[in-house]
Amino acid sequence: MYWKIVRNDMANSKLITGMTMLFVAVAALLVTLSAVLIVHLTSAIDTLMKQAETSHFLQMHAGEIDQVRLTEFAEQNKYVDEYQMNEFLNVEGTKINIAGTTLAHSVQDNGFSTQSEKFDYLLDLDGHVIEVANGDIYVPVSYWKDGIADLGDTVIVQDQTFTIAGFLRDSQMNSMLASSKRFLVSEQDYAAIQEAGTVEYLIEFRLKNLADLKNFEEAYTSAGLEANGPTITYKLFQMLNAISDGLMIAVILLISVLVVAIAFMCIRFTLLTKIEEDTREIGVMKAIGLRVADIQKMYLAKYGVIAVIGCMLGFACSFFLRDILLENIRLFMGETDKVSLIWLFTGLGLLLVFIVIMGYVQSVLKQFRKLSATQALRFGTMQGKGQHAKLLNLSANKRLPINLFLGIKDVLSRKTLYATMLAVLVLATFIIIVPQNLHNTIAAKSFITYMGIGNSDIRIDIPQGKQNEQQVSAVMDRLEHDTAIKNYTVLTTKKFTTIAEDGTAQNLKIELGDHTIFPLEYAHGEAPVAPNEVALSVLNAEELQKKVGDSLAVVINGQKKNLRISGIYSDITNGGKTAKAAFSDHSTDSMWSVVYSTMADPSLVADKRAEYAKTFSFAKVSGIDDYIYQTFGTTIHAIEKAARAALVIALLLCVLVTLLFMNMLIAKDQAPIAIMKALGFTNVDIATQYAARSIFVLLLAISMGTLLANTLGEYLTSTVIASFGAASFDFMINPLAAYVFCPLALTSVVLLATLFGTSRAGQVKIIEHIKE
């Protein structure tokens, strides 16, 4: 008999059963995909870094190099397992021509290398160490992805012509966030193009034990070895490789949690409605001595079937989607060797979805136990609290049109019922707004100020070298007399030594200049202004264990000076370890300089950029827009895709849930609808009342969802972003999208779904529900 009840239940509610199954399937699909992506990404990064034998410690250096001293240091240091020094021939983008176009617009430091001897290998797309023939060249895989280079294309550097024999994965510089890109040529060819650029050195170490990295870094610094360039460690390489796809996975996980929540709501609503409908029957069964536990088991079995089918469907669908989502990871990081781990995690994910659903059904079914037989028989319902919301009275209502009033009143009277719909719409608003705000924030020009880069129009990087000072003055002179330039500033990086309390010395690169013209976002404190102030990047502040207000001993012009820490900021440039100060110094040579400028008319930026690039051939001139696009492009693109997908998914969910909810509501509300019709309310009146309910719930949901998105959402997002190096973070909200477009889109789909879903309301036959 129980089976009969459940079978009838399924047959009578094909739509809702199907919907519940669909949501379970989507939840299972997303959980499966997340599992696959997480395992694939982490293990592929792991594999790539193992195959390539990534350096544990990389010191980039330009200028004179004392190889003997370095080799001696490496041999004597107890932490070092292997040491090597690679050359990186930095060539200006204008001098590299790929298939007819130069890399003049590239903000990357493009350069040429030969294959490493001992570790830090450049790999081909099959994960093998490349052996390159004379005349051949291997190009970073990102240029293939961007469509700049293709197999067999010609690359011309100076007068030398190369043929692209393949593409390379560079475990250290793959990510667009890493600012250098290595092209691989043979040793003979390398020697032939040596004149085309300037040589930088990659001083690389592998340690016996990675855990000793910090000790090794200290030893390297205190030995006073070559350090004219950024220092990058294994951890940062890992992070750079993980960012873009990591963000995408985070968004998918967020959506899957929400879909599970929606599946819950469907289940809760159907079960509660069902229990209410069946109350009398269940009461009879109880009264004649049948065990309610058995009835519970049958419902549990029903949802067990739904959950299993849903999970299997979701799992099957994940096979169609995983290749698309894995494309990027596969290209940059390669295949995973942890296939069994993927299956394990997928299995665990599906099991989790199943268990969570069954646990939830069980908890809802507890209501059966509370039901008393007499109650069920006498009233045919479970005795609830008073349904009447005291707040709104028709007799005191002068403003609201009656249908609007009745709609709102109904929502307030049956809060628990509408809570389901409210929660879904709040979640939908949340998943629409958060990724959108995130995308907006990262795509905004000012986002780079969270990353250690001033917000300007044109950025001119003047490289280290003997002529640095003359070049800087040439640029300044030009900018000073260029009427199109609104303002500019020169920031020069120099190397200083800090003295810790215990007397140990450490190198600190400090960027000197006026930091108030193109300010950064400071996580704590503010920009240095007085000569005795210094600001530290988050990584440096952590390493030096300094807070705002602390003092830092720095050797300037041979004298130890105590500088006050004025602020701490996030930075991803130059390995993340930077400092800024405003004092002037002539005691040491500049390492490099950056000139930031803004233009009076921003529309002329592109022309001006090209003009400067031509004039200052020694410098790298980039528009900040290009810089953002090329550095964060992949990430921005991934988030934009996720935001769009979230919008579409959320709107679809809203349509489905509203349709479903209205359908169930009408089925439940037959009697009150009949009463209204008998009293002379027209079909239009009734449809208006339902629309009023939907819109009222929706408006509440949009307000709550927006509030949540801007508080909890911002908090969650900033936690994610913080793990990538930006310590503080505020949402950049596009008011048009967040407060106009999103509510408008939601309102239209919900309204349409309501009207469609309640079109049956008018067909209620008065007589059937009024006549005894």
Partner: protein
Amino acid sequence: MNIVSGEQIAKTFQVGKEQHPVLLDVSVAINQGEFISIMGPSGCGKSTLLYALSGMDSIDQGQVIFDGMDLTTLSDKELADLRRTKMGFVFQQPTFLKSLNILDNILLPAMRDGRKNVRALTERALQIMNKMGIADLAKRDITQVSGGQLQRAGICRALISNPQVIFGDEPTGALNSTSAQEIMDLLASINSEGTTVMLVTHDPKIAARTERILFMSDGAIVNELRLPRFTGADLDDRMVKVVSTMQKIGI
């Protein structure tokens, strides 16, 4: 003058594949200000006739004229407007919205059009409630009053728009006999002010309070009884007439 009339009304219910005729060419005319009841056994079609005459249910054949309008030609919207403005309904079972209190339930049909003079409407509702003896229940939930009180509230609701006709489908069916007679007193007093009242009942004691009784059997009106205005002392005489008519026609 006729306020409601039906010409050769026929209606058939379909149950599965079987046809069940419930009204067979019924013709009836009701004058303005009449106090009329329809009697008959269960399933004779009396409620169906009532709902046909009020336009609440459609008919298969024939014509229903209400206040000069042919109900069979009106749209759903026009019928709804008519129900709201010119008719009042009292049902056997309490048919109220659970989300509204007693006063709001009574005001409901009038508020559809009369939002602007809510104060006057509320005053009117309280007056009617006072007359029906339930003025102190205005703010109560519908679950907090007795069946008799709820039925009085139903009558108040039927009266709120000052209708021309009040239709009652077994309005005392769920009440004990004392409450039932009290309700009949109220309906009689409403009728004495000029409102037409038309009831369906299977209780001779209720039918005996009205002035014209239509007897139905198997979908047709088979007899009719006219009685003088009820004085308060002639209930037994009236009962005898009603019951003997029933026996004569075998219901």
